[in-house]
Every structure is written in structure tokens, then in C-alpha cells.
């Protein structure tokens, strides 16, 4: 792709065939970025999702300017960024460790970017106040970072980045150090904050729930490559391969071959599926999610025999864990109701399913 073509593309930031390799201490090579391309649209909340070591943080650092690419290019508004040092890029980062300056007050931490840019005192003070108000920390500007709780430090880091009005806000697993409750609250807050400020967010996480909650689009990464880029619903309902299906949400992926609206699995099961989009004999994977299976028999619906291993009570739901006839582990979700009978491990249930709900995708090599 030539520069003009890249400029013509809608992306605010475009990553073009980015490659990054590292030498391991053992003398081998790891490739956290293996010719990845990505277009970040203006004003979207894009999440890079993948297991640790998949390359998502490397990509974030490359965009921020902390890592040089071995090959490929990153464009901002169609202009290549290689050769532009981190401090000249209009991006700001919220670091995983927050990286607040311990020797500066909260106010001076937030004002840091404005101070080094030489913004006049009055404007600086009003923008710092505004940023602190945005993250609900007004009145704490004279505190030192160590006097704040983890959640408050997180907000300071956010305010410190947002106050500079970056073109893209880069967030490197910023919620991973918070406890569960606070994390869930911050997820919702971050999303609404992004709406308020109208800044593009590039969010890195290994937590699929976080990604599904907040993102406009999710880019699933593994071993230095994008496996699927799409909206949360697309990625959850229609994964394109086994990795995405099992990484996002819990699922059982059954391998088999397609024949006339049914899939015969390697383990000898015969599953009815809704799709007719595959040629006869095609190797396919069927994604069965816990919510697809129901205890109650529904007239006209096929069933799967599942032998229960254990039943986990989580309040609103029961998580049923068991195995299919061929030994494949499978889970089902059951909305709990008062006074219903006990489910005993060891019994075999016929769980009904809607063939149209099951997602079938082209078979991937196991």
C-alpha cells in the first residue's frame, strides 16, 4: 500500500504490516508483532485482547513510541510516525503501574504535560481542575500520590493523560491492579468518560469480560497476529476460529464434518445445526456455549446427553459442569429458581438446544 492509499483510508491511526522481533536469552527469537495491520478509527473504543505475551502491549508501546518496529510503519493522519520520538507524539498513555510521579502532588502530576509544554499558569490550573473534576477527584490536588488508594491513583493517571487532549489515549491494562468490584465500576466509568471527552481509546487487556463490556471494537491477538477484529457481539456470536471461540466467553468447541445440516463429530456425536452454508463433508468446528443448553426439554428441539460432574451454585445461576458421551468437557448455564429439585453429580441429563443458536465455523487444525 502506498502512502497516498493509506492517507485515503478512514483510519486515524493505521498500523501497516508491523513487525517486531526479540532475541530470547536462550538464543531463539520471539515475534510479538508478526506483520500486523490495524486501522484505528476516530473516536472509537478499540480493545486489543489476547493472552499475556500475545504482542498487544508491544503494539501499544510501538504506537506510543517506546518500541521501534523492525519493519512496517505506523501512520497518524496518513503521516508516518517512525523517527518521531515518544515525547513528540500526540498520544498519552495510562500505564499498568500508573507511573505517577511520587515527588509531585496530584495536581502537579496532572499538570505535568501542560507544564512541560509551557501552557500558561491560568489555563493550566483551570484544565487541571477540569480534568480532576472529570475523574471525580476535585479537592485532592494537594495530596501526594502515596496518600491515595489504588482506585484514586488510577483516576489520577487517567486525568494526567486526558488533560493533554491526546489524539489517542493508550491504556495498558489499567484496571488489572484493582479489585473486582472497583474494576467493574471503572469499566462503566471509562466507557462513559470516552463518550464525554470524545477521544479515541486504545485499550489493552487480557480480560475478555473487560473487552466485551467497554469496546466498540475488539481486536483479538495471539502469537503476534490478529485473529479477528470486530464488534463485541460479532466476536462473541460468530468467532472465526477455535482460539477466539474459547478465549472469549466459555465454550466447548466440537470438531467434526458437515453433512446436510448436521455435524458428525470425531467422538461420534450427531449435532443438528442451523446453518446450511458449508459444502458436504467440510471439516467444521461447532461452538457450544453454556447458555445454549437447557435442562428443560423443549418440544421439537434436539438434545445432547451430558453426564454431570459437578454443580456450582453462584446465586442467580447454576453452573453445570459435565461431559459428553465422548468425554469432552461441556458446561451449561441454568437460571436458578427457588424450590427446584437437586441436581446430583453422576446423573445423565438430556440437555436441549436450539440448532440455530450454535455457531459453526470452518475447521481449524487442532
Amino acid at each position: 500500500m502506498t502512502t497516498e492509499e493509506v492517507a485515503a483510508d478512514q483510519g486515524l491511526v493505521r498500523v501497516e504490516a508491523a513487525v517486531k522481533r526479540f532475541r530470547t536469552p536462550e538464543g531463539g527469537w520471539v515475534t510479538p508483532l508478526d506483520r500486523v495491520s490495524l486501522s484505528i478509527r476516530d473516536n472509537e473504543f478499540l480493545t486489543l485482547l489476547g493472552p499475556s505475551g500475545c504482542g498487544k502491549t508491544t503494539l501499544l508501546k510501538a504506537i506510543a513510541g517506546f518500541e521501534d518496529l523492525d519493519d512496517g510503519e505506523i501512520y497518524l493522519d496518513g503521516q508516518p510516525l517512525s523517527g518521531t520520538p515518544a515525547y513528540r507524539r500526540p498520544f498519552n498513555t495510562v500505564f499498568q503501574s500508573y507511573a505517577l510521579f511520587p515527588h509531585l502532588t496530584v495536581g502537579d502530576n496532572v499538570g505535568y504535560g501542560l507544564d512541560v509544554a509551557g501552557v500558561a499558569r491560568e489555563e493550566r490550573d483551570s484544565r487541571v481542575g477540569e480534568a480532576l473534576r472529570l475523574v471525580s477527584l476535585e479537592g485532592l490536588d494537594r495530596r501526594m500520590p502515596r496518600q491515595l488508594s489504588g482506585g484514586q491513583q488510577q483516576r489520577v493517571a487517567l486525568a494526567r493523560a486526558l488533560v493533554n487532549r491526546p489524539r489517542v489515549l493508550l491504556l495498558d491494562e489499567p484496571l488489572s491492579a484493582l479489585d473486582r468490584k472497583l474494576r467493574q465500576a471503572m469499566q462503566i466509568e471509562l466507557k462513559s468518560l470516552q463518550h464525554t471527552v470524545g477521544i479515541t481509546f486504545l485499550f489493552v487487556t487480557h480480560d475478555q469480560e473487560e473487552a466485551l463490556t467497554m469496546s466498540d471494537r475488539i481486536a483479538v491477538m495471539d502469537q503476534g497476529q490478529f485473529l479477528q477484529i470486530g464488534s463485541p457481539a460479532e466476536i462473541y456470536d460468530a468467532p472465526t476460529n477455535r482460539f477466539v471461540a474459547s478465549f472469549i466467553g466459555s465454550s466447548t468447541v466440537l470438531t467434526g464434518s458437515y453433512r446436510g445440516g448436521r455435524v458428525r463429530t470425531a467422538g461420534g456425536l450427531d449435532i443438528a445445526v442451523g446453518t446450511r452454508a458449508f459444502p458436504e463433508g467440510e471439516a467444521v468446528d461447532v461452538v457450544v456455549r453454556p447458555e445454549h443448553l437447557a435442562i428443560a426439554a423443549v418440544a421439537g428441539r434436539p438434545t445432547l446427553p451430558v453426564t454431570l460432574d459437578n454443580v456450582v451454585f453462584v446465586g442467580s445461576d447454576l453452573h453445570l459442569h459435565g461431559r459428553l458421551a465422548d468425554g469432552t468437557a461441556i458446561s451449561a448455564l441454568h437460571r436458578h429458581a427457588r424450590g427446584e429439585g437437586e441436581l446430583t453429580p453422576g446423573t445423565t441429563l438430556q440437555l436441549s438446544y436450539d440448532p440455530a443458536a450454535l455457531h459453526v465455523m470452518k475447521g481449524s487444525k487442532p
Binding site: F91, T93, S97, A99, G111, V116
Partner: protein, 302 residues
């Protein structure tokens, strides 16, 4: 209420823990210091020893007041004080300039290399100071390594007069005291969180701004600590000046040593030691409060 109980228990524990070192310092530091203080106000005996009568004139000999008791003011002592101060301050500055970048270099080394360099930096501690200083005499003397090399290279015709000068004393002091500067600065730099440096660049600070606003303030404690523990022994040192300064470059330490061991004038030696201590305390106090103030000011400005 329970907090008060805990607080009291903790106070007892602190007192208990501090007691041994307090007693030790009291016996081995404060008592000798007290003896020196008393001696500095006594009259020197004719053949060594002291005469037990109030005799403040020792101080007059050095600082010009009070004058009396047959002692006269001699500006040579102030000259030596001034030279010692200059040399000690130069030692601090030179070792700081050497150690600060080196500390960063060591901190970024990996694995065994780091340990090897740190071990090398502490090597001088394992050998005798006299031998180390004497080695510099061999290196710097007119027929020594440096001059031979320079003459052979055709850079100079005549060997340079490098020894028995303030320069050679400075070289010796820096060489002897550099580890004392390196270790506290290294300890500080090692703890420096590089994510903060990255954060600073991320927020748009140029490398120079990052250094001034983040790296320097965060490594200041190491610089202050290193400066103090280099300055004090540099000011009191007499071995280096004795060997590398010859008769020309004397420091206060030499003066004190001579009074005690050669002139056998203990009261005057004690007077010089007391004056040196006053100078050290005053300078360290000013230095520490000033750097603390500057740090506060930097915080206020941001």
C-alpha cells in the same frame, strides 16, 4: 484506645532497639569528643601534656580572636583550612561527575555483569590505602607512567610536574573516595522506576525536561548522601596529602596530626579538630536544608 496501647508498646520497642547504639555512641564518640573539647581550652605543657587552666588563646592562633597568653594569630592556618575546603569540595564535585553517569550505566547492566562491576567498584576497600595512594605516586611522578607516555607520544618535551601539587592530592582523594559516592547514588538510581521516565516522555517532556523534573529530583537523596560521606573524610584526610602533596600541599588533617604526634601540642591539635568539626557541621547543615528547600520548591513549581 487500643491504638494507644499499640503506640506505647511500639515506643518501648523503639527505645529498646535504640538503647545499645546510643550507649555505644555515648561511650566511644561523645566522651572522646568531650575530652577534645575540654583539651582545646587548656594550656599546652612545655614538654607535651597539658596545664589545667582555662586557655582560650589556642583559638586566637587560628581565627584571630581571642588573642593573648603569648599565642599569636597566624593566617597560615586559615589558608590551610581554605585549601582543605576547596580540595574537599572539588573531590565531591569530581566524584559526583564521575559517579552519576556510571551509576546509570551499572543500573542498566544485566545479570553477572552488574555484580562484576559493583564488585570491581568496591575492590579498593580490599587493599591497603597506603599502597593505593603510593601507586599514584608512581603513576604521576616525572619518570612515571603518565609522563613517560606523554613524552613518548611527543605531546610534551619536559615531564609535567604532576606530583606534590593540589592536582595530585585531588586525584588521590577522588580515587580513594569515589566508591563512597558511587554506592549511595547507585542504590538510588537502581530504585528509580523507569516507567516514570517513560511516563514523562509520554506526557511530552523532552529528555532534558525529563532529567530535570523527574530523574534529578528522584535521585537527589543519593547525591546528597554521597556528597556528605565524601566531603567529610576528604576534609579530614591526611594520608593522601602526606604522600601526594609533599610538604607543599598540607591539609587540616596533616596539621592536626602534626600537633598531636610531632609538636605534642594536644590543646592546639584539639582546637584545630574542633574548628574543623564546626565547619563540617555548618556546611552539611546548610547543604541538607538547602537541597530540601529546593526539592520543596521544585514540588511547588511542578
Amino acid at each position: 484506645m487500643s491504638a494507644g496501647v499499640v503506640g506505647r508498646g511500639r515506643r518501648t520497642a523503639v527505645i529498646g532497639l535504640l538503647a545499645p547504639v546510643t550507649v555505644l555512641l555515648g561511650i566511644f564518640f561523645l566522651i572522646p569528643l568531650g575530652i577534645m573539647l575540654v583539651y582545646s581550652f587548656l594550656e599546652p605543657g612545655l614538654y607535651g601534656g597539658v596545664v589545667w587552666s582555662f586557655f582560650p588563646w589556642n583559638y586566637g592562633r587560628v581565627i584571630g580572636w581571642p588573642i593573648g597568653g603569648g599565642e599569636e594569630f597566624d593566617p597560615i592556618y586559615l589558608t590551610i583550612f581554605w585549601r582543605s575546603l576547596k580540595l574537599a569540595l572539588s573531590t565531591v564535585v569530581v566524584s559526583l561527575v564521575i559517579c552519576y553517569p556510571v551509576a546509570f550505566w551499572i543500573a542498566r547492566l544485566k545479570g553477572w555483569r552488574k555484580n562484576a562491576v559493583l564488585f570491581a567498584a568496591t575492590l579498593p576497600f580490599f587493599s591497603n590505602v597506603l599502597v593505593l595512594i603510593y601507586a599514584w605516586l608512581l603513576i604521576l611522578r616525572p619518570t612515571g607512567f603518565v609522563n613517560t607516555l606523554l613524552v613518548a607520544a611527543g605531546l610534551i618535551d619536559q615531564p609535567l610536574n604532576l606530583i606534590f601539587s593540589e592536582f595530585s592530592v585531588l586525584v588521590g582523594l577522588v580515587f580513594f573516595l569515589v566508591p563512597f559516592m558511587l554506592l549511595p547514588i547507585y542504590a538510588n538510581v537502581e530504585r528509580l522506576d523507569w516507567a516514570l521516565v517513560q511516563a514523562s516522555a509520554d506526557l511530552g517532556a523532552t529528555p532534558i525536561q525529563t532529567f530535570r523534573r523527574v530523574i534529578l529530583p528522584l535521585t537527589l537523596p543519593g547525591i546528597v548522601g554521597g556528597s556528605i560521606i565524601v566531603f567529610i573524610p576528604a576534609l579530614g584526610n591526611f594520608v593522601v596529602a602526606q604522600l601526594l602533596g609533599g610538604a607543599k600541599v598540607q591539609m587540616v588533617g596533616n596539621l592536626i596530626e602534626q600537633q598531636f604526634l610531632k609538636a605534642r601540642n594536644w590543646p592546639f591539635g584539639a582546637t584545630l579538630a574542633m574548628l574543623m568539626m564546626v565547619v563540617v557541621l555548618a556546611l552539611v547543615l546548610v547543604y541538607v536544608t538547602r537541597t530540601a528547600e529546593r526539592n520543596d520548591a521544585a514540588k511547588a513549581v511542578g
